[in-house]
């Protein structure tokens, strides 16, 4: 028997995951799988169809009277029972989890209906009447700063909620001295990693104790626990937060469930019963959280050889309608890393945070990284293109030198370890860069469109809880007191039978934490990982946790697994003493292996691990003096390197810094604009690898998200703030057909700052890959500027020449009506057997209008030129009832008239304007010609955008054809389908 624990470790091996058996057989317990109390109510949320509007009235009577409804909660109730959520900057603004007097984005909660089941709750939710006064909206962050922009929060005075300027080194002189000034201007779009499991919350309230107990598939950070408890106006110990054993992915997004914890807590309190809410996909897309979009101007002072001496950043961060915790995390998480993988001594930064009429933003895999590396690495390619240098050389010449680690960046990060030059060199050699250049040459010689892209990035992990305070001025920070660190905690416990359990507060979202922790602890204690049981979900009422607990900024391997190692080591040291007593030897002679504890000198002198470990339960009196107990060790670990920002605003924003160098070759189909990723190579330095297969899994998963961000995914908003990618048929997540398999390489430089030498790895490709692909596409089509997502339509737009025109071009219709909304335009004509005067009369006659307005249930005359109607509109099975308001303008009897109409209903709202001209074509006949422009918003615009144009054409066509038929005596005047039937033979 050989005892040499280090030679045969579990860590570093791809052992099967302990999580999988339950997940593969349907036994895993996700939030919606857990039993609830029998009196639990289901919640359905009434949400705003408008991007910006004052709430005039919320009428809940009809909903309250609906079957199965117990209560309806409104903004007023929430305001009465809670306080505004904490905002991360100093600003005169409130932040509520539900609209109180104003809605500021499509999907913002307005009321919550609580009923005995979800079907009934949704039925009743439709009966909540909300009257809105629509306000102009602003969705573009740059426009939001304009003088004319509508202001979301009047108390702020403008949409700029925070601005800070920073200067490190001497950027002005560096720019003045540099021979070249090269810049890029970037609009980084919004996207979201959209876990397949949506949010879920189950809330209980105990009025006797004034205490909340809330189960949510929340991922952390648990600093949010304080935000929730404060909002609910209870001390932290009356706000017990639990997470379910399994969570169906998060990628940062499930941090954003917390406003719903507050809402459901209040709902449970008002209803006097537990409340459960499972978010649906439409709600998730419209109103969970997404990444920030950002407008960035980045300039570099560049030497002739491509060396950068200074960077000047100007970032406008769009956080949506509210600056919701932990934002502005996305903007400041990268603050120490604004020079990427490069040694650049002089940096200026101007950061502005603006609010727009879009969903509030939050954490999203790589948060802050994609928004920074897109400009930075586009800049590197632009420098190479401008100075006609090899892009690899431009990167290589600027890398932080290998002998400089640990390296302090200009903005304050301490890059823990790395050998960037060697990693890059290995990637080029082992990844086949030269062959790729050959492929490009061959392809281009054959007339094909082929390009190569590169990207280098530093991947930060283990956030400093203090980085966010860089948004405050040094004076403000002085007042607030320092914030820093990254407390990780782990508990290793022994039960009376001597088996080992591990408990952490890492709240895994699918990454396999339990497997890795079993490996780490098994190594420390000489056990089989299969014998170590691990719990990683959290109960704040019972478990050890800190504000830094949770699953974010890639902290598991470096911090949590490290803390578990420290706890297991501590237990091991104690057990050595206990075992030494039992084996009649000294602690230094003790070794742990194969479930036994033995003397190194005499391996046959051994005892089972469980016997030694359980001694503290059964015979504490036998423990040596120096050992208090061996039942439970809880370790809290925070690295010294994570100091608060200093007076010069230097901040070591993260503990660890992985390195990534990616390159790829893409081919564009010149006739369709489609991109095919021909080869993708990604080199990672994530320090010590704990579980190779899981590391590959993290890289592949991040890569797939990034392919989506590069080519497919975008949260699209209309100019009026209507949300256009409201279903998974419009928000396009890559499938197996769109994601190629990357070549993954590793170059390990262990972190000196973490117990296991590990660094984070799960977010890197979300930072490096979007820009790497964009660089390749820009190279392929020789474009100066490209904007994500690079859809085939966009790409073809960049490379296609002049379009062949038609000999008989269709007439262009100039938009003239309501601006901002999703615009639909059209025209048509019909000839009728009636004079102009007769037709004119019809247009002003309520009875005629009733007969010809599609689906009319009655037209009421308000004045000679103003009518109100109740109509059922729709195409195919998509039908809804609306209230319509129609006015006639610009009357030019009997030649022309303008109709302006507004409709509001359950499926959304619309307004439109049509100009009707009547032309006498002889023999008592008239030609009715019309053009129209309409805007549609609300639910139908969010989920059925693709079909809207055509649907509107059908409905508007129906009206004018019905008019034609009526004039010609052909219309029956019955239902709208009957008229439609009549149209088959008639019309234009």
């Amino acid at each position: 028997m050989t005892i040499n624990p280090s030679a045969d470790r579990w860590v570093g091996r791809s052992v099967p995951r302990v999580e999988d058996a339950a997940l593969l057989t349907g036994r895993a317990r996700f939030i919606d799988d857990l039993p609830t109390a029998t009196n639990t109510l289901d919640a359905a949320i009434v949400r705003s169809p408008h991007a910006h509007a004052e709430i005039r009235r919320v009428d809940v009577d009809a909903a309250l009277a609906s079957e199965g409804v117990v209560a309806v909660v409104t903004g007023d109730d929430v305001k009465r029972l809670t306080r505004s959520m904490t905002v991360g900057v100093k600003a005169n603004v409130e932040c509520w989890p539900i609209a109180t007097d104003r809605v500021r984005y499509v999907g913002e909660p307005v009321a919550i209906v609580l009923a005995t089941d979800r079907y009934l709750a949704e039925d009743a939710a439709e009966r909540v009447g909300v009257d809105y006064d629509i306000l102009p909206a602003v969705v573009d962050p740059v426009a939001a700063l304009g003088d004319e922009a509508p202001v979301l929060h009047p108390s702020l005075g403008s949409n700029l909620i925070n601005e800070r300027r920073f200067s490190y080194g001497d950027p002005d002189n560096a720019f003045a001295a540099a021979p070249h000034r090269i810049g890029v201007d970037i609009a980084y779009p919004r996207n979201s990693c959209t876990p397949i499991e949506t949010y879920g919350v189950v809330a209980h309230y105990d009025p006797g104790e004034d205490a909340y107990e809330i189960l949510a598939n929340f991922q952390g950070p648990f600093s949010i626990h304080a935000v929730v408890a404060r909002a609910l106006k209870v001390p932290g110990n009356r706000m017990r937060l639990k997470t379910p054993p399994s969570s169906g992915g998060s990628y940062g997004i499930k941090q954003g469930v917390f406003p719903y914890m507050i809402l459901m807590g209040v709902a449970a309190r008002i209803a006097g019963r537990p409340v459960k809410w499972i978010e649906d996909r439409i709600e998730h897309l419209a109103a969970s959280v997404s990444a920030t979009n950002r407008a960035t101007k980045l300039e570099a002072a560049v030497e002739a050889d491509g060396r950068i001496t200074a960077l000047a950043w100007d970032q406008i961060e769009d956080c949506g309608a509210h600056l919701r915790a932990p934002e502005p995390a996305t903007l400041y998480r990268m603050h120490g890393n604004m020079t990427g993988a490069y040694a650049i001594a002089n940096v200026s930064i101007r950061n502005r945070i603006v609010l727009t009429n879009k969903t509030p933003t939050g954490l999203n895999r790589g948060f802050g990284g994609p928004q920074v590396y897109y400009p930075l690495e586009r800049l590197m390619q632009t420098i190479a293109r401008t100075l006609k240098l090899d892009p690899i050389e431009v990167i290589r010449r600027n890398l932080v030198p290998s002998d400089a680690f640990p390296y302090r960046t200009a903005t304050g990060a301490l890059l823990d370890s790395g050998d960037y030059g060697t990693a890059l060199g290995r990637a080029i050699a082992e990844g086949g860069y030269a062959a790729l250049v050959e492929r490009r040459k061959t392809a281009r010689a054959e007339g094909r469109v082929y390009g190569i892209g590169l990207a280098a990035a530093v991947e930060p992990s283990v956030s400093n809880m203090g980085y966010i305070t860089t948004v405050l001025t040094p004076e403000e920070r002085e007042k607030a007191g320092p914030k820093n660190g990254a407390q990780a905690t782990a508990t290793v416990a022994v039960d009376p039978l001597g088996s080992v359990s591990v408990k952490v507060a890492s709240v895994p979202q699918g990454q396999g934490h339990r497997t890795v922790l079993a490996q780490v602890v098994a190594d420390a204690l000489g056990l089989d990982p299969g014998s170590v049981s691990v719990i990683a979900d959290v109960d704040t009422g019972r478990d050890a946790w800190s504000i830094a607990s949770g699953n974010y900024s890639s902290r598991f391997a470096p911090a949590v697994a490290g803390a578990a190692k420290l706890a297991a080591d501590r237990l091991r040291e104690k057990l050595k003493h206990v075992a030494a007593g039992q084996l009649n030897t000294v602690p230094d002679d003790i070794a742990f292996e194969g479930g036994r504890i033995a003397s190194r000198a005499n391996p046959d002198n051994s005892v089972s691990f469980s016997r030694v470990a359980a001694a503290a339960h059964w015979a504490p009196g036998t423990l040596p003096e120096v050992v208090d107990q061996t039942i439970r060790e809880t370790v809290f670990w925070t690295p010294d390197e994570l100091a608060a920002p200093n007076a010069d605003d230097e901040i070591n924003s993260s503990l660890c810094h992985g390195f990534i160098f990616d390159f790829c070759g893409v081919e564009i189909d010149a006739s369709t604009g489609e991109t095919r990723i021909d080869r993708y190579v990604t080199m990672h330095d994530c320090g010590t690898i704990l579980h190779p297969a899981m590391v590959e899994g993290q890289v592949r998963g991040g890569f797939a998200h990034a392919v989506g961000a590069a080519l497919l995914e975008e949260y699209a908003y209309g100019a009026d703030g209507s949300f256009q990618s409201g279903t998974l048929a419009d928000y396009l997540i890559p499938t197996v057909m769109e994601v190629p398999e990357p070549v993954i390489l590793h170059h390990e430089t262990p972190s000196p700052f973490t117990p296991l030498g590990a660094k984070g790895v799960g977010e890197g490709n979300c930072m490096s890959t979007p820009v790497c692909i964009a660089n390749a596409i820009a190279d392929a089509i020789d474009a100066e500027s490209v904007t994500l997502p690079l859809t085939p339509s966009k790409i073809l737009g960049l490379i296609a020449g002049e379009e062949p025109q038609a000999k008989n071009p269709p007439r262009k219709i100039e938009p003239a009506g309501p601006s901002g909304q999703r615009k639909l335009t059209g025209e048509g004509a019909a000839e009728v057997a009636a004079t102009r005067e007769e037709v004119w009369k019809m247009l002003l006659d309520p009875q005629t209008l009733d007969a010809i307005i599609p689906g009319s249930h009655g037209v009421r005359r308000i004045s000679d030129t103003h009518f109100a109607a109740d109509v059922t509109l729709g195409v195919g099975p998509v039908k809804g009832r609306y209230k319509a308001d129609i006015e006639l303008f610009d009357l030019d009897e009997p030649n022309a008239v303008t109709l302006r109409g507004k409709t509001v209903g359950a499926l959304g709202f619309g307004e439109g304007e049509g100009r009707i001209t009547l032309t006498d074509i002889g023999s008592g006949r008239t030609r009715i010609a019309y053009t129209y422009e309409a805007g549609v918003g609300g639910k139908v615009a969010s989920v059925g955008g693709r079909l809207l144009d055509g649907a509107a054409r059908v409905v508007i066509g129906q009206f004018f054809k019905a008019l034609a038929n009526h004039a010609g005596g052909g219309a029956s005047g019955a239902g709208f389908l009957a008229r439609l039937k009549a149209l088959v033979g008639g019309g234009s």
Partner: protein, 276 residues
């Protein structure tokens, strides 16, 4: 996302179905595979008060080839047509299109006629019906009628099916010997609605026909000369413009016209090449 309440009637015979439809009037809706209808029910975009399930009516579940035509009943699932042994020989164009219809997991439930009733302009099966000059057999409690494809589609998701009426079957003409056919499509992702879908038929005599889905409100077809004809591109360009393409989230109008010109030409060339 739960449907509003509705009554559900499972018809065992065609008469039962037509009776329930007649009774339900405008508020009644046929449910077959439900793959287009149920998402709209879940989103409460559609809220019929009565759903008439026709999938247990044996008489509707037949694929019948006769006299150079193939009749496909309202209960025929897409997967049944896809796996119909004679499909590739009888209707090669449809055989080429079937893998593009949704995903295997929706073809397993969705019906051929259901897709036509839904009349999504980007869907493949409406394009097939139009490209092949097929017919739709409509039936109500009182009457039967048959409409050619170009009279069946009235607009975006709008068809000539009247209240109380249902599609009983469609009839697709089989290709004469030697006909060349081809199908091509560009979508954002595999299985997505087409941005542009092209179906081409080259008759042995020399006439070629190109049908385009995804651009106009209904699929549209045009007769074109041989691709070698100097007028081909001009005629195709006129056709591309005539479709009134629109900008949307996924593609610009110009892009759609570009695809009609390039993909359309390619598709016709392919059909001509496999004609004999």
């Amino acid at each position: 996302m739960k449907p509003a309440p509705f009554d559900y009637v499972r018809a065992e015979t065609l008469d039962e179905a037509l009776g329930a439809l007649a009774e339900g009037g405008e508020e009644a809706r046929i449910i077959a595979g439900g793959q287009s209808l149920v998402p709209m029910l879940n989103m409460r975009l559609a809220r019929p008060s009565v759903l008439v399930d026709v999938m247990r009516i044996d008489a509707l579940s037949k694929i019948e080839p006769k006299n150079g035509r193939v009749e496909i009943g309202a209960g025929v699932r897409q997967v049944a047509l896809e796996r119909w042994a004679a499909l590739a020989g009888t209707l090669p164009l449809v055989a080429a299109m079937m893998p593009w219809v949704g995903h295997a997991q929706t073809r397993s439930r969705g019906t051929v006629c259901g897709s036509l009733a839904h009349a999504d302009p980007s869907a493949e099966l409406p394009l097939a019906l139009l490209a092949l000059d097929g017919e739709v057999k409509l039936r109500s409690k009182r009457a039967k009628r048959t409409l050619p494809a170009n009279e069946f589609f009235l607009g975006m998701m709008a068809t000539a099916v009247a209240p109380g009426e249902m599609i009983e079957a469609i009839v697709l003409p089989a290709h004469p010997m030697g006909t060349g056919t081809a199908f091509r499509e560009v979508a954002r992702r595999h299985g997505d609605y087409a941005i542009v879908a092209c179906a081409a038929i080259a008759r042995p005599g020399g006439a070629t026909r190109l049908a385009i889905g995804g651009v106009a409100d209904v699929p549209q077809a045009v007769a074109l000369p041989d691709p070698s004809d100097p007028d081909f591109d001009d005629q195709l360009n006129e056709f591309a413009w005539s479709l009134n393409a629109r900008d949307d989230l996924h593609a610009s109008a110009r892009y759609r016209r570009d695809l009609v010109r390039t993909l359309g030409r390619r598709t016709v060339e392919e059909a001509v090449a496999c004609r004999s």
